[in-house]
């Protein structure tokens, strides 16, 4: 599976690129690539420290935020994720449909995430400067 890059259509001009970004933010047809978004668990923590767990409880995302996240996310390798990013302990997870296939999604606080099914795992990142408007993600 390949995460559709946000700049796939707007190779043309900066103006079109801007329109595309706005479209993402306003949940138009371009945001419908990921459908049937189900939220299974919110505000989880891989850290067992009760202080961290209580902090992570605040990590709550809406369906449209999840959609925006994956629409804007860029794919990175496991190695890039491992060496280039701190993996914050807070995360939410669920399922979604992309191109008729069901995937398990996971988003960590701080803007990293993944999509997995039985065949494939795709790591993604949404840098703050490109997704600062997804409230509560960063």
């Amino acid at each position: 599976m390949r995460i559709p890059p946000i700049r796939l259509l707007p190779l043309l001009t900066t103006a079109i690129a801007s329109i595309s970004l706005i479209a993402c933010a306003t949940n138009t047809a371009s945001e419908q690539k990921y459908t049937n978004i189900q939220i299974a668990n919110q505000g989880l923590s891989v850290d067992r420290d009760p202080l961290v767990q209580s902090t992570c409880e605040d990590f709550q995302l809406t369906e449209s935020q999840i959609q925006s996240f994956f629409n804007r996310a860029k794919t990175i390798s496991e190695q890039e994720l491992h060496h280039g990013y701190d993996l914050l302990p807070c995360y939410s997870e669920g399922t979604l449909t992309y191109q008729t296939q069901e995937f398990h999604w996971l988003i960590r606080a701080g803007g990293t995430g993944e999509l997995t099914n039985s065949n494939k795992k795709t790591n993604v990142v949404c840098p703050e400067k490109e997704s600062g408007d997804i409230q509560g993600l960063h």
Partner: protein, 212 residues
């Protein structure tokens, strides 16, 4: 005994492959060794990645057991990341400590800034009251892909026999060279920083079993 010249070890068992961009300021004192896994299955991909970054570790152990020294042991490498609170994990925080950490975690600002505040608080402490930092530790990376299907609790590729042999030899030499304890001064990366849950755990167990 290791023969070291300007931070570079001269030994037929170690291949010198210094990557200047992962070497940073002077590493004056080594208090600990941190065990890492690469999340990549080949030496080439890791070395190539390090050549374009400023993060990396001092040693890299290939699947065939080849040990690469990639940074001088008198230079700091950026290999630790966001430190976790030692006293929280070991249940030894003072009330004041707990308050500071609680305040940091519930502060306003980005998620990263919350965990960074905890890290900055830890940095004010002396080792071993805190976990080791880039400024007082050596990093040893063992080649191995991350096998987790989903999330951060998966396992890494098994450490190969040749890797294990080289790893134990290198650790024995480094522990002796820096007068460190295998019990108290060797850490799996995940146990001290915000990384995959099992990073370095198997290597740490391997060392404990070997030394006991």
């Amino acid at each position: 005994m290791l023969c070291v010249f300007n931070g570079v070890i001269s030994d037929p068992k170690i291949k010198t492959n210094i990557i200047p961009n992962i070497e940073h300021s002077k590493l004056a004192k080594v208090n600990a060794i941190i065990l890492h896994r690469t999340s990549a299955s080949t030496v080439e991909s890791t070395l190539n990645a390090w050549k374009t970054k400023n993060t990396g570790a001092h040693f890299l152990i290939a699947k065939d057991g080849t040990i690469y020294q990639t940074a001088a042991i008198n230079k700091r490498c950026w290999h630790v990341g966001l430190l976790r609170s030692r006293c929280r994990i070991e249940d030894s925080c003072s009330e004041k400590d707990t308050e500071i950490i609680k305040k940091a975690l519930h502060s306003s600002g980005s998620w990263k800034s919350k965990f960074k505040k905890v890290y900055q608080h830890e940095k004010t402490k002396d080792y071993p009251d805190r976990y080791p930092l880039n400024s007082d530790s050596i990093g040893v990376e063992i080649i191995g892909a991350y096998l987790g299907k989903s999330g951060d609790k998966g396992l890494f590729e098994q450490i190969q026999k040749a890797q294990s042999k080289s790893f134990l030899w290198l650790m024995t030499e480094l522990l002796e060279h820096f007068s460190l304890s295998f019990k108290d001064d060797v850490y799996a990366h995940d146990s001290i920083a915000r990384k995959k849950v099992n990073e370095g755990v198997k290597a740490s167990q391997l060392l404990q079993e070997y030394c006991q």
